[in-house]
């Protein structure tokens, strides 16, 4: 069966013409299956949000897709008419942005915003629209009377629930979640993440979850892709990635957050800063920060992609040098 979403060698850049374009996403291959949660993690500026925007068809100029393809249920999204894309949005593909509790129109009641969205997608009666809105409110555990409220009457966590209800009201197949809980408190974050997980089991949509919080991702994703300087450097099932990461960058990210409740020991963070995307180092982009870089190899030759033949793949010279495959 074809995956729900398939990104093939996707390149995305910012610029008005080929000459001035800076490439931000460099050759990403990634799939999301039906009902699967795929996590994408990396530092600020690694291109994870650009990747999600491009894949969701929401990239605005000067953002440009400069290569590769995006297949949604086997259809190439780069070659469909704008009107068709518009129909796909919300109905088939939807997105929850970072701090999206601030995207609600402050001078409209929430019910009108639901009705507006559904009108565009062929729901003809307001009664039916409200019935579906109420059902979604139940699912996200918001009292129904808040449909009549204005956004400012809700707390941040409640607004985020309302936005999630809105993004799911047409039962999309694929949902992009871009740091949906970053602006929220830890207790609210936990209940929203749990709610999303239940909704996914009930409604069966696939998720691409973008975050910098690897500890959160490990708990909710089926599969995690680690991004560095616009490319995926490692991808594996969540548990495998957590327990046996192979790429030096993944290893550093794993130790960048202190564990809860274990004995206090000194941990070392990640030295250096991400590279300038306009002038990437030759070879592997992580070389300048890599504790185990091999001189003359890592700083010259682009690293090969190694795989264990199943779901774990790593783009790194070190494994190549050891002559071992991943696993």
């Amino acid at each position: 069966m074809a995956p729900l979403l398939e990104l093939r060698d996707l390149h995305v850049g910012y610029g008005w013409d080929a000459k001035s374009t800076t490439t931000i996403v460099r050759g990403v291959n990634l799939t999301v299956d039906e009902g699967e949660v795929v996590g994408v993690a990396g530092e600020s500026g690694c291109g994870k949000t650009t990747l999600a925007n491009a894949a969701a068809g929401l990239l605005e100029p000067p953002g440009r897709i400069t290569g590769g393809s995006i297949l949604f249920q086997g259809r190439d999204l780069l070659n469909i008419p704008a009107e068709e894309m518009r129909q796909l949005h919300l109905a088939q593909i939807s997105m929850v942005f970072q701090a999206s509790m601030n995207i609600l129109n402050p001078v409209m009641r929430i019910r009108s915003q639901f009705w507006d969205a559904m009108k565009v997608h062929g729901v003809s009666s307001e009664d039916e629209a409200m019935e579906r809105a109420r059902e979604m409110f139940d699912r996200v555990k918001l009292p129904r009377q808040f449909l009549d409220a204005y956004p400012h009457q809700l707390s941040g966590g409640m607004r985020q629930r309302a936005v999630i209800a809105l993004s799911l009201v047409l039962k999309p197949k694929l949902v992009f979640l871009d740091e949906p809980t970053t602006a929220l408190d830890v207790v609210v974050q936990r209940s929203i993440v749990q709610m999303l997980n239940e909704l996914r089991q009930d409604l069966g949509f696939g998720v691409m979850f973008i975050t910098h919080d690897l500890s959160l991702l490990v708990e909710i994703a089926d599969k995690i892709a680690i991004m560095y300087a616009g490319a995926i450097v490692e991808e594996a099932p969540a548990q495998q990635l957590y327990e046996a990461p192979d790429h030096p960058y993944t290893k550093s990210l794993m130790t960048a957050f202190p564990p809860l409740g274990s004995a206090r020991t000194r941990m070392e963070g990640l030295p250096g800063t991400p590279p300038d995307m306009r002038s990437l180092p030759a070879g592997c982009a992580f070389t300048p920060r890599c504790p185990s870089a091999i001189e003359g190899v890592c700083d010259r030759v682009p690293p090969p992609e190694m795989t264990d033949g199943q779901a774990h793949r790593v783009v790194c010279h070190l494994l190549d040098q050891k002559g071992a495959s991943v696993g």
Partner: protein, 356 residues
């Protein structure tokens, strides 16, 4: 008591090899509590704000009778959600907000609630703050040299001919090396992590005995948070600084702190050695926070449901009694009559809950 054996087990795990270097020479909580004069001693600190419209005045109870002391070279983590009053506590201690009631003693010296300009300057030379947002807490029109040299002048730390040397030394201490590279730069020419280091340098320039760090890492990228935390730990070690580390991140607090204090709706509700509070949280709210924090280490092979009801109370209409009672699964009728008194539940570990 089962409790005692459990806590002795956790305190032995504290002595990991890396800890000896961090804590070996400086006061750990037990010693710090009984030490000569604590760096900070706060009792009954209260802050209210008047809000609302004419005819409908309301009072926001941001902070209610908080008692907290910090020993010499001790780091206390103050943990709570947004709106819990943790920043108000730090800002009141720094006199960026004028406390409504309570006493604040720094190095044994009480500061009046209506201090004169001279008293205030003296207070701030001992208490310095590091702010959450390194993008807005530095003046964009001034170079780094100015930001760090200014406190030297304000607090008359040294004769002015020594200032350049001191600035260089402080920039080196916070890891901005070589200092000459940074002196002439403007904040916009630095990354977030570098700016936060300048924020720390500026605070250190006053030669304070107490640093109040208000979420110093929450605006920074994950990969550099640990570097800033390690720098603060090193400064405690090299300069014997005391620190209040305000955060909403339990993991960060347990990494940084000797003791942790938990705040809810303006009330301190639990306080104790970091390891004990993390491994055996006693207050139902602390237990809720602990369960809510992402914890991949114990995630696999375990299916847990997270139950949480309700939201923190409206600070203009606090419930009678324990502020957590309306959300507490174990609340009893007595919880709703008065805020529970502190009870000891272990060595240096106390909680404000009727269950103990």
């Amino acid at each position: 008591m089962a409790r005692l054996t459990a806590s002795s087990a956790t305190s032995s795990t504290r002595k990991g090899p890396a800890l000896v270097s961090t804590l070996g020479t400086v006061g750990i909580p037990a010693g710090a509590e009984q030490g000569p004069v604590p760096a900070l001693e706060v009792t009954g600190l209260t802050k209210t704000y008047q809000v609302g419209t004419i005819g409908k005045p309301k009072v926001v109870h941001a902070l209610t009778e908080a008692d907290l002391s910090i020993g010499r070279s001790e780091i206390v983590g103050l943990v709570g959600e947004s709106g819990s009053g943790k920043s108000t506590f730090a800002r009141s201690v720094a006199f960026l907000e004028r406390p409504t009631a309570g006493t604040i003693k720094v190095d044994g010296q009480t500061i009046s609630l209506k201090p004169s300009a001279g008293e205030l300057r003296q207070h701030r030379s001992k208490v310095q703050m590091i702010f959450q947002d390194p993008y807005t807490s530095l003046d964009p029109l001034h170079k780094i040299r100015y930001a760090v040299a200014r406190p030297l002048k304000t607090f008359d730390v040294a004769p002015s001919d020594q200032h350049p040397a001191i600035v260089n030394q402080i920039l080196t201490e916070v890891g901005l090396t070589p200092p000459e590279e940074y002196l002439r730069r403007y904040p916009y020419q630095l990354s977030g992590g570098q700016r936060q280091r300048v924020g720390v340098a500026r605070a250190l320039a006053a030669r304070p005995s107490l640093l109040l760090a208000d979420e110093p890492t929450s605006m920074l990228d994950v990969s550099i948070r640990l570097n800033i935390m390690n720098m603060l730990l090193d400064l405690r070690q090299s300069q014997g600084l005391s620190m209040l580390f305000v955060t909403h991140d339990l993991a960060g607090a347990s990494y940084m702190s000797d003791r942790i204090a938990i705040m809810y709706a303006g009330h301190l509700i639990e306080m104790g050695p970091a390891q004990d509070v993390m491994s055996e949280p006693r207050h139902p709210y602390t237990q809720l926070l602990r369960r809510a924090a992402p914890d991949p280490a114990s995630h696999f092979g375990r299916e847990t449901r997270f139950e949480s009801r309700g939201d923190p109370p409206d600070l203009t209409a606090l419930p009678e009694g324990c502020p957590f009672a309306p959300r507490c699964p174990q609340a009893r009728s007595e919880c709703r009559s008065a805020v529970p008194a502190w009870r000891n539940v272990g060595p240096n570990h106390k909680v404000r809950c009727v269950l103990y």
